[in-house]
Point group: C2
Amino acid sequence: MLGVLGGMGPMATVDFMAKVVRNTPAACDQDHVPMVVCSASNIPDRNAALRGEGADPLPAMRDALRRLEAAGATCIAIPCNTAHMWHCALQYETPLLILHIVDAVICELTARKGDCIGVLGTTSTVEGRLYQERLSCKGLSCRVPDAASQDAVMQAIRLVKAGQIAEAANILQVQAEALIDAGCSQVVMACTEIPVALASVEETLRTKLVDATEALARACVRACKTPAQGLACAA
Amino acid sequence: MLGVLGGMGPMATVDFMAKVVRNTPAACDQDHVPMVVCSASNIPDRNAALRGEGADPLPAMRDALRRLEAAGATCIAIPCNTAHMWHCALQYETPLLILHIVDAVICELTARKGDCIGVLGTTSTVEGRLYQERLSCKGLSCRVPDAASQDAVMQAIRLVKAGQIAEAANILQVQAEALIDAGCSQVVMACTEIPVALASVEETLRTKLVDATEALARACVRACKTPAQGLACAA
């Protein structure tokens, strides 16, 4: 049973679950992946904590993990990129495999060695080099927005959390296009709020965007339908 | 923490969670209702069981309830109308309040005493008189599709579970309009798959449809934000 450590944010968790359902070949309820989901919206702000300005979210994340274990989860996914800054700390707490969202994204990239990949994420994800480190191991470089643009991205992410989707979409589309204009072959939507806002973006831009939420959902379906495969990419 | 006994079907559970999130006044993650959700897609088919043709779903529903209790749920919602045929049996199993979807719908009806309400649901929901009994206590009568139309409704519900949304929408729109033409002042979408299909129906029909999923979601937000109120309607 897939365990989802969610609530960061709540609508991103819903978006993730919808993507698990849509990526499962199914003709009836019983063909779907059983899930237990903790939408722990009480987890303190991850970005504030990483700036040294807010409560440590690890205790609340650990509490959600315990609830998922108690409910019988057999592997864990976290539909929040920033929360992966605590991936090691959480994995240390549990014998269950916690799938890593960046590894799931790497499975979906069509870029070739030497390509530059754009990363649209929270300031913590970008400054914490969550994507840069793992992508450089694959011979890929990363480009992130400059400081002023990054502030705009953070503002858009907060708008999604407050339900102001259209306003967020306008900001994020401009920032995604700027990264492509700067030479990125693909742009990762590396915060789970971003695909919620850019769900209906036009086709030309769409084909260059990589949805980290969708990538994680597909990795989960693979892991649950063929457990021996773990997080390996589909052949 | 709201406990959701879900997976019946999986996309209906996702739709329910989205409606809880959208109906919560929130400016940031921490304003949202914490939820633990068991998407127990392994629960045997409720309609087959009620026809005497399939396994009893109660043991699997009880197992999901136990998982929610273990994860720390403090009240329970079941985003599946047909599953409410086992509401009493499940409520008997737990000290936690299980909100009733029909009571939530009654809170949202604008119909007056003597009005006729249309009910679009599974054959089990309709034949089991899930809505008829509770609505008659409020002085409201019910109309359900005739046998051939009811078969079409069931077929549409199965199409949603298999991801064929557009095909399902066409069938359900015809059936909803037929109930309105027959004199119903409102039509309850009394199966959680139905609003998934009719999400983008045109405004004239939309205003006469009552979404049981949305009604349950709003009842949950009220119950979680003002726990003393329980399932009472908003003033």
